[in-house]
Symmetry: C2
Subunit: 221 residues, 2 copies
Amino acid sequence: MRIKFHQSLDELKQRLLVMAGMAEQAIQRATEAYTTHELSTVELVLLAEPAINRLEREIDEIAVDLLAMEQPMAVDLRFILSVIRINSDLERVGDQAVNIARRVREMQDHPHVDLPVDIPRLASLAAAMVRKALQAFIEGNVEMAREVLTLDDQVDEMNSQAFNSLSALIREKPEATSQALSTLIISRNLERVGDHATNIAEDVIFWVSGNDVRHHASLEK
Amino acid sequence: MRIKFHQSLDELKQRLLVMAGMAEQAIQRATEAYTTHELSTVELVLLAEPAINRLEREIDEIAVDLLAMEQPMAVDLRFILSVIRINSDLERVGDQAVNIARRVREMQDHPHVDLPVDIPRLASLAAAMVRKALQAFIEGNVEMAREVLTLDDQVDEMNSQAFNSLSALIREKPEATSQALSTLIISRNLERVGDHATNIAEDVIFWVSGNDVRHHASLEK
């Protein structure tokens, strides 16, 4: 029974990793669509969403069944609760990718404008946060999880700079308003990806140490 | 033992209601600050945040302890898992109130502009969604939870109209850019409140019926 239980926990972890890979890929593709303006890449992101949602439900069902049938204690209980939370954050990362892809599609209706914001760099930082948070989860590595919290400050700073430079641009070139606003929203979508990675990192710390670190990080700022 | 367990479940529910009241009040105050431009109201929202965060942790601890010690089955297990999720959504509603309050404070640095967006109406709809979702939770009322999902379409629509009318305004009056962008962001913050209420409504349906409705609603659209 216990061996089977630990096999189930491993299976849960494996599926969560697949989920994380899909969420990360969705962000990468959405960013690629932003850079290349290729509608086929937008479509790829939209087509992948149902699969992400389906996997979220599957993982949730396995986790809830394990809680119901195995009634795990202490570290195993915290592990399963963390999976449930991380799963939900990964699905919302996928939602952000869909939001970005839809916004890129709308941008096609307006002429291209050079904008003073490095969306690929912001996206790659946000995706790296998700990847690092998941790696921290696999390894049960609290130090690595804490590094994610630090990266989030960088993402917030980049997003704040994007807001300032885009509002300055709009004032100078009102004809660029539409593209600038879309990029502003995309920048905020990426900031939210960073927030989800932060939530995941906090869950890793909760799982490993049993300490609830939420809000402590923000108090230290 | 069972009587004590059900007392603990009631206590959990009571605390979650307090949490919901605090989150809703934070949104109402942030909106009031937007309307009246009173910095003292901004401060009220910021000062209340640590209490919301603290209560989130307390509720989480009680829920996790109940799972660990009582090893509840079926409907009780789903109830406790729902509390954990709803708690997290309520805390994020509080975060949105803080975001709005901070944005209102920044708006003080720029001259007032009349904007074509009814933020109080959007806020009152979003707050009503949170209230209704919680009421559905208290009563275990699936029908009421489904009504929340319908209201979310209205919030999305209002937010989308806000985006369009604000971008039109910016093109006509570049000097209003800063205030218009801030209001755009506030409108999106309120949309996220609606999303959290939707999550809560879905959790109520999960708890009561054992069916996972997430993503089904969006398929029906």
